[in-house]
């Protein structure tokens, strides 16, 4: 197993793994302060999570720079605390200047000349559910003593968004001060995957756990060699706040230009896309949430029709409830909803009863005839068997 060892202890360590194309080699020095500025944001409410985002190009840029100063001296493991204190004082200073929606960040945070190109495809990451299931499964199968798992994300890029369609986990070792990632394994797996789906590119990487640590920055830098401006996805399997939060980030440079630049992870919007068949599969799998031992069987013919009609019934009862609320005055009437309701009621076609009878009967006759023919064919081949076997 070929390992790539990252040593995080010295600020001057960049020489050991910096690449020619990285113009500013000071990444690790500001790695500890970069992550604490994200860590308190991630732990606090989502509203302030976007607060550090507009920081890079906004007028409050000098504010984070005092933070890197005390950080390099203490050991990285404990640097999070003093830097976190500094970052939280910086954060309120940034909130007046911060835009509430991350949608405003495209104009501001793409300032780093060293990172190869702006983030392709806007600010939206589209995930397929198979990725999340894969990540959770590899988390469940992690080695003893490993706190989290990492892996590569594959997918496609287009003009408006990035679509992640596949992933695989990569073995790695993590300890207090170093991280080892099996590069060769990652390359091999990517080659194998390419044979099946040649259109998929490496888009970034994922990690379980609810935080971005210093090691994440290093791993992210490794991945930025494989893909232009990689995405980092975190899936919180430790269920902090009682939810499994799924977040995506892209890294941007921050800091005063000309001095040592820091790296920060900017959040992206995550959307879930499904193929039609995937949607149906997910709906089915979701049913295991309701059964006692998490087991469900596949249903058959009329059961399926029954299930679908039950769903429509639920939807209808919600709509009826809303209508009754409006009538009794509990909820104020909304014209757009009213128009939708009108079109809904009008969708049941008004057909002359005789015409409908004819249509219905002819359809039923067709189906019955086909059933009869199918049965006839089956009995014929059964007879054929008997005759041949004589």
């Amino acid at each position: 197993m070929v390992l790539l060892m990252f040593s995080n202890s010295l600020p001057s360590a960049p020489r050991s793994f910096s690449l020619d194309k990285m113009a500013t080699p000071a990444v690790p020095a500001s790695a500890p302060p970069a992550t604490p500025s994200e860590a308190p944001a991630a732990a606090s409410s989502p509203a302030s999570a976007s607060a550090p985002a507009p920081a890079p190009a906004s007028a409050s840029a000098p504010a984070p720079s005092p933070a890197p100063a005390p950080a390099p001296s203490p050991a990285p493991a404990s640097s999070s605390d003093p830097a976190a204190a500094a970052a939280t004082t910086a954060a309120p200073g940034q909130t007046p200047a911060s835009a509430p929606a991350p949608a405003q960040t495209p104009a501001q945070s793409l300032s780093g000349p060293a990172l190869p190109g702006p983030f392709p495809g806007g600010r939206v990451v589209r995930l397929h559910p198979v990725i999340l299931a894969s990540i959770v499964d590899s988390y469940e199968r992690r080695n003893e003593g490993a706190a989290r798992v990492i892996g590569t994300l594959l997918g496609t890029v287009d003009k408006h968004s990035v679509e992640v369609t596949n992933c695989f986990s990569v073995p790695h070792n993590e300890s207090e001060d170093e991280v080892a990632v099996d590069m060769e394994f990652a390359k091999n797996m990517y080659e194998l995957h390419k044979k099946v789906s040649p259109n998929e590119l490496i888009l970034g990487w994922y990690a379980t756990g609810h935080d971005i640590t210093e090691h994440s920055v290093l791993i992210h830098e490794y991945y930025s060699r494989e893909a232009p401006n990689p995405i980092h996805l975190t899936v919180d399997t430790s269920l902090q706040n009682g939810r499994m939060s799924i977040k995506a980030y892209v890294s941007t440079l921050m800091g005063v230009p000309g001095r040592t630049m820091g790296v920060m992870f900017t959040p992206l919007t995550v959307k879930y896309t499904y193929y039609d068949t995937e949607r149906i599969g997910v709906d089915l799998i979701m049913k295991t949430c309701f059964s006692p031992n998490r087991v469900i069987g596949l249903s058959s013919d009329l059961q399926q029709v029954g299930g679908a009609s039950a769903r429509i019934q639920d939807a209808l009862s919600t709509v009826l409830q809303y209508a009754e609320d409006v009538l009794s005055g509990k909820v104020s009437a909304d014209n757009t909803v009213g128009r939708f309701l009108m079109s809904l009621v009008n969708q049941v076609p008004k057909i002359v009863p005789e015409d409908f009878e004819t249509m219905l009967n002819s359809n039923i006759n067709d189906l019955l005839m086909v059933t009869y023919l199918a049965n006839l064919t089956q009995s014929q081949i059964a007879l054929n068997e008997k005759l041949v076997n004589l």
Partner: protein
């Protein structure tokens, strides 16, 4: 492929965190001799199969892949899978076995079960009973006794509900295949009819707790599905295609009729030519011995006709299921209309 016992031991240890021993499956399987009474699939496998077909399969091409998992008592648990590339292009430097070996070795590094327990294949409108499938499944089942083939029907799934079936060869058919003797006598001796070629094994889907949590998350965040394909009344397209396939198969089964047609056509052409020549005053062409041109048709190979019969049976089953659903939907539409009036 690792031997079964060794594989089971190692993978049982590694997968203890996922598929716990909770919920012993109810065995409703086929014949009593069969080793597997139920197939338990992880939700992840279902999603992967769906994704593989969606991205790589178009039209009538089948996509295939390998299933990984382990065997617990009489239950086959499938915990992961990986797709097989389609070997249409550059066959020369592509080694399937090597791909498989490398994949399994890599997956072992990340603690994924590496015991080969079967394979999956997509199907077009339900046509999967072919010689190729039989051979593949036989070689799998010969090496690993509990292996199954999962047939995924994407078109039926797109119509509203997941269509995934697990099949195994019956022990009787296994015997015949082992002898490699497909002559009619051997088949008669084995008393094999088309209904006893494949046995279907019931499938259940099981998820771990963490995946359940994930499902709750997704449910909260995703929009409600706006397509209710299952309740659509438009059925003629699907029905038409299935019937067409059925007719083709039936024709194949009675392919002597095709040859007769060809004989007639040939005779007619001959007669026409002769008449033309007579009108031009040339000597007529000699009457050729028809039996030399069209060799006497050999009785179709027994195994092939058995396979075709099995396929016809599958089509008929599908048709009946489909019509049952549609009848239900039509009656619902009728009720709606009556209420409206």
């Amino acid at each position: 492929m690792a031997s079964r016992k060794e594989g089971t031991g190692s993978s049982a240890a590694s997968s203890s965190s996922t598929t716990g021993a909770a919920g012993k499956g109810k065995g409703k399987g086929g014949s009593g001799d069969s080793a597997v009474k139920q197939v338990q699939i992880d939700g992840l496998v279902v999603l992967k199969i769906i994704k593989h077909y969606q991205e790589e399969g178009q039209g009538t091409e089948v996509v295939q892949g390998v299933l990984l998992g382990l065997v617990v008592e009489d239950r086959l648990e499938i915990t992961n899978c990986f797709p097989f590339p389609q070997h249409t292009e550059d066959d020369a430097d592509f080694d399937e076995v090597q791909y498989q070996m490398e994949m399994m070795r890599s997956l072992r590094h990340v603690n994924i079960d590496h015991l080969h327990v079967g394979w999956y294949q997509s199907t077009y409108y339900g046509s999967f009973v072919t010689r190729a499938l039989l051979d593949s499944q036989f070689s799998y089942q010969h090496a690993i006794e509990e292996s199954v083939v999962l047939i995924y029907d994407p078109i039926k799934t797109a119509q509203g509900s997941l269509s995934l079936k697990a099949y195994r060869l019956t022990p009787k058919l296994m015997e015949v295949c082992k002898e490699k003797d497909f002559s009619p006598e051997a088949l008669k001796k084995g008393n094999i009819t088309f209904e006893h070629m494949f046995e279907e094994v019931p499938i259940v889907i099981k998820n771990s707790h963490l995946i359940n949590v994930l499902m709750w998350e997704l449910e909260k965040k995703s929009a409600v599905a706006d397509k209710h394909e299952l309740l659509s009344l438009a059925s003629s397209n699907h029905l038409g295609k299935t019937l067409q396939l059925l007719m083709d198969r039936v024709d194949e089964m009675r392919n002597t009729s095709k040859q007769q047609q060809q004989k007639h056509q040939y005779q007619q052409r001959r007669q026409q030519e002769n008449m033309q020549r007579q009108s031009r005053g040339e000597p007529p062409l000699p009457e050729e011995d028809l039996s030399k041109l069209f060799k006497p048709h050999q009785p179709p190979a027994r195994m092939d006709s058995l396979l075709i019969a099995g396929q016809i049976n599958t089509y008929c089953q599908n048709i009946k299921e489909f019509t049952a659903q549609n009848l239900g939907k039509l009656f619902m539409a009728q009720a709606l209309q009556e209420y409206n009036n």
